[in-house]
Subunit: 371 residues, 2 copies
């Protein structure tokens, strides 16, 4: 299969851009300001970004993979991804949401290989079926290689989630290597519950996975048209790139940019948005609850990662992470238990969105050392 | 008040005997085979046995306090009780329940001061009102000093507990320093629930606190009559005491003794059992649940001992012990959370009797290091 998808017929270079800008509050106390989710091994023995890189590599090798991250995570990221050349790590001077991040990456790709196709991928998602993923991504690359379109990968919704954007597709526009390509009719950011339920009933809505494929000049054109201020800042950066002024200009240009997501800034306004549906076991593992859902569980429903022993007495449907200690649960259920060197979280399963309340309380008070 | 009670009029010496033979499974993971409950600071800054000694000292000083313990705990016990002369630590070669333990202590007391009164006290109970306790104990000492009786201290039951023995009292037999002395009509070991409820309705039942006061020769006489085999073993020990054969004889004699409690072996059979009721805020703190009950709690009902910060978000009625880590509870209630160097217990409040199931599972399997 790799032979089929590894070399799309357009002949343009293909780059991957991994967006690694996560702040990491939702997996506190494991994720910290200096150690966001994608740098953690929360789902396996490799970290999430290591999984992301490895998953891509049959289609796009590490030397054509760029990673965009913040200064405080760059060193750890380089340590975790030795296969990625240091020059491929793009360091944003500050977070400005995804539109500036993708614009910066598009500049970098275009300088390396003018007109190249770039696949934009979040650093911190989980994908169970890697072969299916590669097949879908290769199809999206092939479409983007041929057409000056914005190609999105949508996920079949498994429930009326209100935390995701939704892509509404029209009729099929064609087929590429067996994958149906749809034209996107509308993009709906984070709906309320009745809306989300209505989307599911209608059947032609996908979750926006945040994975996009396009030619670098195509997205830069869209930025120029829809986000002219950001485009101007990107032009300044492009001019200074490789000169002694580079880091000063980057910092000033970033400071001047309005933070905006690629979804609000571009996708909702653009025509020529295409969609391929991805059925590869996707999860954004956005919370401890989501991690329990995707984790292997024992007969009692417990997902346990303990460095020592685990003893459950009438213990059910709980998530346990404790790298060194014996953990005993007695007559409890639906708990999330996470122990680190300096902190212990115990949260009701289903309430893990409230972990950010803990983080907020710590930020206000004398608990900054735990962020 | 101390002047009144400090020197009962009988003139006999008074000794305290602290029974420190606990095995410590109910406070796992804090209590361990080598560190039973009475050696832990679970209720304050001092350990429970340190509290016990300090509480007694206005009435009976440490140099007239004997402590009976096992070999594996003796060193730590001496470290915790430097005021107690090492000669006052009696080391049982093995546990044989309370009758042999009390018999051994009675020998020791009688050798030091023939005919002395001894107050037998468990090492691991909690008493809130120390002044009341001393007053009641002094009254019991005064009664035992005058009469060749077995004097017990009973606790007014606060519920139909099935884990305690009950003392049924008859009519008052007199008054000593304001305390009413009752004759005990019967002793009922650990009743079932309907029996316990019936005891409470009848109103003339007290919990057996395990605190006894008597003259050393009186209890030895009772042992001779009701437990002749144990008496014979004690005689052998007495003869060998202070000779090179002492430790061999002690070991062999103990090995030969039938394990039996003073309650089953003596108290249930004896006449002349008297009772003084103790209303001094007693608890045997026999479980994590009991410890939550007696612990200071915040407005949300949480009893927290954390070395770092505690953050509760919708967290209620829980017990937390974590000496070094920040602990965050999110949307949980009625939990017992206990973290030690090598283990983490999370138990539903109300189920802490099942902690011993964890200990049993560890004993069967590869978890012996955690016992």
């Amino acid at each position: 299969m790799h032979a089929e998808i590894g070399n799309p017929d357009g002949g343009k270079s293909i780059y991957a851009v991994i967006m690694a800008g996560g702040k990491g509050t939702r997996f506190w106390p494991r994720s910290r300001e200096r150690m966001p989710k994608h740098l953690l091994d929360i789902v396996g023995t490799r970290t999430i970004i290591q999984e992301t890189l490895a998953r891509l590599s049959p289609l796009i090798p590490p030397d054509r993979t760029l990673v965009v991250t913040g200064a405080s995570h760059a060193e750890e990221l380089m340590r975790q991804l030795p296969e990625v050349p240091p020059d491929n790590i793009l360091i944003e001077p500050m977070g400005r949401n995804t539109a500036p991040c993708i614009g910066l990456a598009a500049l970098a790709v275009n300088r390396r290989s003018p007109g190249a196709v770039m696949a934009v991928l979040p650093a911190d998602h989980l994908i169970r079926d890697e072969a299916r993923f590669l097949h879908v991504l290769a199809a999206a690359v092939r479409v983007a290689d041929r057409e000056a379109a914005l190609v999105t990968i949508g996920i079949a919704p498994t429930g009326p989630e209100t935390g995701y954007g939704y892509l509404e597709n029209g009729e099929p526009a064609g087929t590429v290597t067996g994958e149906t390509v749809y034209r996107v009719r509308s993009i709906r950011e984070k709906p309320d519950r009745p809306q989300a339920e209505s989307f599911l009933r209608q059947g032609n809505f996908s979750w926006n996975s945040g994975m996009f494929v396009w030619q670098a000049p195509v997205i830069l054109d869209h930025i120029a048209r829809h986000l002219p201020d950001i485009y101007r800042a990107l032009r300044e950066i492009d001019v200074a790139w490789g000169t002694p002024r580079e880091s000063d200009v980057l910092r000033d240009a970033y400071a001047a940019m309005t933070p905006i997501s690629i979804d609000y800034g571009i996708m909702e306004k653009a025509r020529d948005v295409l969609l391929i549906k991805g059925d590869f076991g996707w999860s954004d593992v956005g919370s401890w609850d989501a991690l329990w859902e995707v984790s292997p569980r024992d007969a009692a429903g417990n997902a346990v990662r303990s460095g020592a022993h685990f003893v459950g007495v009438e213990a059910r449907n709980s998530f346990v992470f404790s790298p060194k200690k014996l953990v005993a649960l007695v007559d409890v259920e639906d708990l999330i238990v996470v122990e680190t060197e300096d902190a212990l979280l115990i949260c009701r399963r289903g309430a893990s969105q409230d972990v950010k309340k803990v983080v907020n309380l710590l930020a206000e008070g004398p608990g900054r050392a735990y962020l």
